[in-house]
């Protein structure tokens, strides 16, 4: 058990965990320049900012591992958020939450239905179908509220669950973070231990061969899109609880962020390989980046440049790593 720590082993570790290394470097630099970075307040801050994006990213991980992609999550967020928040008064918060999750599920099922019935088993085909669906979901949300935002805080009935998700802590840990941990645990178990989890990887690896060997590939597709829809719905609830507003375009841009988080984490865009754990790292990098750059006083313009550059760098370095492994 007493492995020697050699320079080589450090380099090897660094090579294999570039993103973690990047997060550390970022954290160290920031904490030197801005001592407030390491305060409990800021860590809690990061925890809550982490909330909405990580939910989608977790769902997106399954989608990408299965060799597909889902651009509709942005639309699902918008739709679920406005419907859920607007339903608190008429039907109560628990029922509203359930309706929200069911809408997410239905959206996901709709996507998978289109994909399976249309035989759109290529990632690129799924890309455009779900893009179109995103436009549709957003339009439905716009029609539903006539473009107006709905406010959690306007509710006349009890909305304590939402408040809890949005701002409460259990000990030092935010409620939204606990929700994340529960989701992560469930998804990780599914991914690593279950038949359906393996089926996702196998479908992403070679759908034809998997099908011929008796893997229920179509059920797998339904499953991953259903999970993605549900996770987007949970993300929408977390987001709406946090901001206390739900607007029919609030999900815009989240789908690309989620894809970036998944891929930066190291899940192969082509499918067959990956893990929700990696996605946690990828999402953390994205959230930390904006937190750190804000604390460092970098303007949003430069932040955008840096964000793009770091994402490119992360993917490029990760790719080089795999490349050298491959040889």
């Amino acid at each position: 058990m007493n492995k020697k720590i050699t320079t080589q082993s450090i380099i090897a570790f660094a090579r294999n965990n570039l993103i973690i290394l990047g997060i550390f470097i970022l954290a160290i630099i920031t904490s030197f320049v801005e001592p407030n970075f390491l305060t409990v307040g800021n860590l809690q801050n990061i925890m809550r900012q982490f909330g909405p994006l990580i939910m989608l990213s977790l769902g997106m991980t399954f989608i990408i591992m299965g060799g597909f992609i889902d651009l509709s999550v942005g639309g699902i967020i918008s739709l679920v958020a406005v419907v859920t928040v607007s339903l608190i008064d008429p039907i109560g918060q628990v029922a509203a939450l359930m309706v929200g999750v069911v809408i997410g599920l239905i959206c996901g099922l709709l996507n998978s239905f289109l994909i399976i019935k249309g035989g759109a088993f290529k990632q690129s085909e799924a890309l455009f179908l779900t893009y179109g669906m995103s436009v549709v979901f957003t339009a439905v949300a716009l029609i539903y509220t006539a473009a107006a935002p709905v406010f959690l805080t306007y509710s006349k009935t009890d909305y304590s669950i939402f408040t809890a998700i949005g701002e409460r802590f259990v000990g030092p840990v935010s409620v939204s973070f606990i929700i994340f941990l529960v989701c992560l645990l469930i998804l990780y178990i599914i991914e690593s231990r279950t038949h359906i989890g393996r089926s996702i990887c196998l479908t992403g690896g070679n759908m034809t061969a998997a099908r011929l060997a008796g893997i229920p590939t179509e059920k797998t597709i339904v499953f991953i899109y259903a999970v993605s829809g549900i996770m987007a719905a949970i993300g929408a609830v977390v987001l709406a609880s946090r901001v206390t507003i739900a607007s029919p375009i609030m999900g815009k841009g989240y789908e690309t962020q989620a894809i970036l988080a998944v891929v930066v984490g190291g899940t192969a865009l082509l499918g067959g390989k990956g893990s929700v754990l990696r996605t946690v790292i990828g999402t953390l990098l994205i959230i930390m980046m904006s937190n750190c750059l804000n604390l460092l006083g970098v303007t949003t313009y430069i932040q955008y440049m840096l964000r793009g550059a770091i994402l490119i760098l992360a993917i490029w370095l990760d790719n080089r790593k795999q490349y050298s492994e491959g040889n």
Binding site: M133, V135, A139, A146, G308, N319
Partner: protein
């Protein structure tokens, strides 16, 4: 001999949903009393979709070679801003335009180097490049629109040839012709199809896959830059928000047109049809005064519908028993 004539027609009706859908719109609009069929509107239809068409041309070349370039929006924005800034600071228009286009080429080269030579996923890399360029555009303008101070710059897009045809349309037509020719009739173009169709085979067949595929990104950068400059000339200003939504819009239009994201299939003319289809659709909706949220819903359904039908047709073909 006979098949030479019937084949293309058969192809259009069996595989091409966009032209048929477009035809349907044209027919439908005959039954409504709208200004759709006025000369003004038809010219505007072409003119106002020209910048998108220009971007779509380079985008198609990349797709055909099996890549994808989601940074076109960013390139458009920044190159437009560069042109305006240079011209405002006294640089002559041709030089400024040239610099902008070179900028587009340079970004294309970087995209190409990273995705082709370093073998990374173009979808993600160019997405990141788009984010980066948005930041560059904001930094260059401090997120404020800047106005063109040299009135001559406006002529680049707005000058009317014979008093009718806007220069923008002319630039678009030239770009389309060049790209159609490039893809159909040059060695480079055919090699793009080979690379997109099967990268390994193309490589083993002696095609210089790396430079060729990289060049497709450069071409995409160049057309995006041309479109950016033309857009800036058309609206006589530059702003970091231009091109914000261009990439996915173009991508879905091109795919609706029938160019495959998988590479090797499609062409510039198809992309032209795809872009025009979505342009005409939204123009017709506007002319019919359809509620804008319903419009959005319908456009979404059209995209889903056409792409789904294409997938379904392929599925049926695969599974014919």
């Amino acid at each position: 001999m006979n098949t030479k004539i019937t084949e293309p027609i058969k192809n259009i009706f069996s595989a091409q949903k966009a032209p048929i859908a477009m035809l349907l719109i044209f027919i439908t609009m005959l039954f409504f009393k709208t200004p759709f069929y006025t000369r003004y509107n038809l010219i505007d239809l072409i003119n106002s979709n020209s910048t998108l068409l220009i971007v779509a041309m380079g985008f198609t070349v990349v797709l055909v070679a099996g890549g994808v370039d989601l940074s076109v929006g960013g390139v458009m924005t920044v190159s437009g801003i560069i042109a305006i800034k240079l011209i405002n600071s006294g640089v002559s228009i041709p030089v400024a335009v040239l610099v902008s286009i070179l900028f587009g080429a340079a970004i294309g080269a970087i995209n190409g180097y990273l995705t082709v030579y370093q073998n990374t996923e173009p979808f993600i890399i160019t997405l990141g490049m788009g984010v980066l360029l948005t930041g560059v555009a904001q930094e260059l303008t401090t997120a404020r629109p800047i106005s063109g101070e040299n009135p001559a710059f406006q002529n680049l897009a707005n000058y009317k040839l014979f008093g009718v045809v806007p220069a923008l349309v002319l630039v678009m037509i030239v770009t389309v012709i060049v790209v159609v020719w490039l893809l159909r009739s040059t060695s480079f173009g055919r090699n793009c199809y080979a690379i997109g169709g099967d990268y390994e085979v193309a490589k083993y067949s002696g095609i210089n896959v790396l430079p060729t595929k990289t060049l497709t990104f450069v071409i995409s950068g160049v057309t995006a830059a041309i479109a950016g400059v033309m857009l800036s000339s058309w609206v006589n200003s530059g702003n970091s928000t231009y091109g914000d939504q261009t990439a996915l819009y173009i991508a879905s239009a091109v795919v609706v047109g029938g160019t495959s994201f998988a590479g090797g299939i499609g062409g510039a003319f198809k992309s032209l049809l795809g872009v025009m289809f979505i342009g005409i659709l939204s123009n017709a909706f506007n002319m019919l005064n359809i509620d804008s949220y319903i419009q959005q819903l319908l456009v979404g359904l059209f995209i889903v519908g056409i792409i789904w039908l294409d997938c379904y047709a392929r599925k049926v073909k695969r599974e014919t028993v």
